[in-house]
């Protein structure tokens, strides 16, 4: 007695129903491999990132900026890379900074730990670490993001008033006694407010602070499109969006803008700016360089699976029409 063989499914149908297990396994394997190999991928930084880098580099050396650090471990691949790159630039230009958070109670601690890591990096490179309270100050967390941002825009002294930070060897001290905030009367006393965020705090900042001091953003990839709106309307001076933004910053930190390398070649040309140097020879490669090849693989796989699904659909349609 012959056993009935199950009918073999047509190719089109099979292409449309690849098992999830295999899709997930391929993604896992393909995105993991590049993490073990440091590859320098060719890159042409996007205009908003060029503007962000140029704005940071044009800040007066030894000045100060205000930073809203509203990210945690969930977006560290993007926000963490942006934070590292921006803080490295500020430290190298000896710019003091005050950090506050309005999005997540974890954010100030995440920022503090990241700065400690960057200080370790400086020590290893033989550079003086950035000293808390003297070179940077942690203002802490404000639970009501919109209200706090509104207060910072209109009366920063009363909103930051009463907050204390840890000067070396001294008990917690009023942050306005810190050299970072001395003489600050309003948010306009900061030449720039940098928002590193993975949430809506960027919107609040544009709504409340725009016009009082130049704004620069570092956002996640999914926030890129909405941030582009603020950039196009010139409400922000520039922004880094997602992993590509991190890699753009790291590329410019290595090569500068309109800055000829040893071979005379300009890696990042721009018609908007003159020659802006980078920091060659310093540890510029961070999460952007490390994760960018992984982004390539993930996007390539996404495109490939969409193509496979559509090819399957067309094959099925053609088979049905016969």
């Amino acid at each position: 007695m012959s056993v009935a063989q199950p009918a073999k499914r047509p190719l089109g149908e099979r292409l449309q129903s690849l098992p999830k297990f295999w899709i997930y396994s391929i993604l896992l394997v393909l995105t993991t491999i590049p993490l073990f190999v440091t590859v320098s991928v060719p890159n042409e930084p996007q205009e908003p990132a060029i503007d962000l880098y140029a704005s940071l580099m044009q800040l007066p050396e030894g000045g100060r900026v205000l930073i809203a650090s509203d990210w945690t471990g969930s977006t560290r691949g993007e926000s963490g890379g942006e934070f590292d790159a921006i803080i490295r630039i500020l430290m190298r230009k000896k710019i003091k900074f005050a950090i506050y958070s309005t999005a997540d109670p974890q954010a100030p601690l995440v920022a503090r730990d990241s700065i400690a890591r960057l200080n370790d990096e400086r020590r290893k490179a033989g550079l003086a670490p950035y000293e808390r309270f003297t070179d940077w100050v942690s203002v802490g967390y404000f639970p009501n993001s919109e209200g706090a941002t509104n207060g910072i825009a209109n009366d920063i002294r009363s909103v930051f008033g009463g907050r204390k930070d840890f000067p070396p060897g001294r008990p917690p001290t009023d942050i306005f006694q810190s050299p970072v905030l001395q003489g600050v009367r309003s948010v306009s006393d900061f030449p720039m407010l940098i928002v590193i965020t993975a949430s809506k705090t960027s919107n609040f900042t544009v709504e409340r602070v725009y016009g009082k001091t130049p704004l620069a953003f570092a956002v996640t990839g999914v926030m890129g499109p909405e941030t582009q709106v603020f950039y196009q309307s010139k409400q922000i001076v520039g922004f880094a969006g997602g992993l590509k933004g991190v890699y753009d910053l790291e590329t410019m930190m290595e090569h500068g803008i309109n800055n000829p390398g040893p071979d005379g070649k300009i890696v990042v040309p721009s018609s908007k700016y003159g020659q802006i140097p980078g920091f060659p020879g310093m540890p510029n490669k961070g999460k952007g360089t490390l994760y960018y090849p992984t982004l390539h693989v993930a996007l390539a796989l996404l495109i490939l699976t969409v193509i496979i699904g559509n090819v399957g659909m067309f094959l099925s349609k053609r088979a049905n029409q016969r």
Binding site: L18, K20, I23, Y24, T31, V41, P42, E44, Q46, E47, T72, G73, S74, T75, R76, G77, Q106, L109, V110, D113, A116, N119, P129, F142, P143, N144, G147, A148, N150, G151, N154, D155, R157, S158, V159, G161, G162, F166, P168, G169, R170, S186, P225, E226, Q228, V229, Q232, G242, K244, L295, H296, A298, L299, L302, I303, T305, V306, G309, N310, M313
Partner: protein, 305 residues
């Protein structure tokens, strides 16, 4: 004496400016906390006909402050000790002076919401654990995790208060509590946070594969646009496409418009931003309407009575 001077800012006094860690500060914090919690519970226990006008009144006053703050002229560069010259300036000065207090008040209220969340978590999981309900083991894990994080978090914070605090920025000076805090916060919480978020990649890939089909002209346009934008995010692909175009076109050539970077930028600047701006306008008008309804307590849904 000009009666309008009464509206000027009083000498700056901060009720909470007690020495750090002093008994008087702790007493004020505890009294404030008990008063706040008592107020919340009293409101929850009050009958709707009592609660409703209180909530509506406070909502209206809170909204009125911000409406006045935006519509009333407030001083841009107020000097220390400067007095208002007339009633209009007096109100402006008062609004500006009150802003910090209002912001602090809203921060404290939001802090209470975090406290309510913790209370709710504790109530659910303590009950489940003590009654040995289904999955009580997970509740125990959550409670122990909370306790451990609170213990090591506070111990780490206290260790940084002393004169040795600054030394703890260097890992070599750490003690057990600092390592404990680092292990729980950086080693576990942040890593799990990142792991949870990275799972999205699997869902996106699976969803795109199953749902992204060219079934209509609109879907084809969407897919083509998405493809261009995705390819433009891949530096190696962009380099491979743009370099031959640049070489073929030369400087200022017409062909340069067909670089991947140019096309993707055109899509972003022309279609993407204008669409998002349109959506933002719509959302803004909706938020204004909803804001008015909430301010005037016309919105009856969401537990407002």
């Amino acid at each position: 004496m000009n009666p309008l001077h009464l509206l000027a800012q009083a000498p700056a006094t901060n009720f909470w400016a007690e020495p750090n860690g002093s008994t008087s500060l702790w007493v004020k914090i505890v009294v404030g906390l008990i008063f706040g919690i008592g107020l919340i519970f009293a409101l929850m226990a009050a009958p709707p006909q009592v609660r409703r006008p209180i909530v509506a009144g406070v909502t209206f006053l809170a909204g009125l402050f911000y409406v006045l703050f935006y519509l009333w002229p407030v001083p841009i560069d107020q000097k220390d000790g400067e007095l208002p010259r007339n009633a209009v300036e007096g109100v402006g000065f008062w609004l500006k002076d009150a802003l910090g207090v209002v912001v602090n008040f809203t921060n404290i209220l939001t802090g209470f919401m975090i406290g309510l969340g913790i209370y709710s978590l504790l109530r659910i999981h303590l009950r489940r654990f003590f009654k040995f309900q289904k999955d009580w083991g997970f509740s125990l894990t959550l409670l122990l995790s909370m306790l451990a994080m609170i213990f090591f978090g506070y111990a780490d914070w206290l260790s940084r208060l002393g004169e040795r605090g600054a030394l703890l920025d260097e890992r070599s000076n750490w003690t057990l509590v600092n390592y404990g805090r680092d292990f729980l916060f950086e080693g576990l919480l942040q890593q799990m946070d990142a792991a949870m978020f990275s799972i999205i990649a699997f869902f996106i890939l699976s969803a795109a594969y199953r749902a992204f089909r060219i079934r209509s002209v609109e879907a084809t346009i969407l897919l083509a646009t998405a493809l261009i934008v995705m390819l433009s995010l891949m530096g190696a692909v962009q380099y491979a496409i743009d370099t031959p175009i640049k070489q073929a076109a030369g400087p200022n050539g017409f062909l340069l418009n067909f670089q991947l970077s140019e096309i993707s930028q055109w899509i972003r600047n022309t279609f993407q931003t204008s669409s998002l701006r349109g959506i933002a306008f719509g959302v803004g008008i909706g938020a204004l309407a909803m804001g008015l309804r909430l301010w005037l307590s016309l919105e009856r849904t969401g537990g407002n009575g």
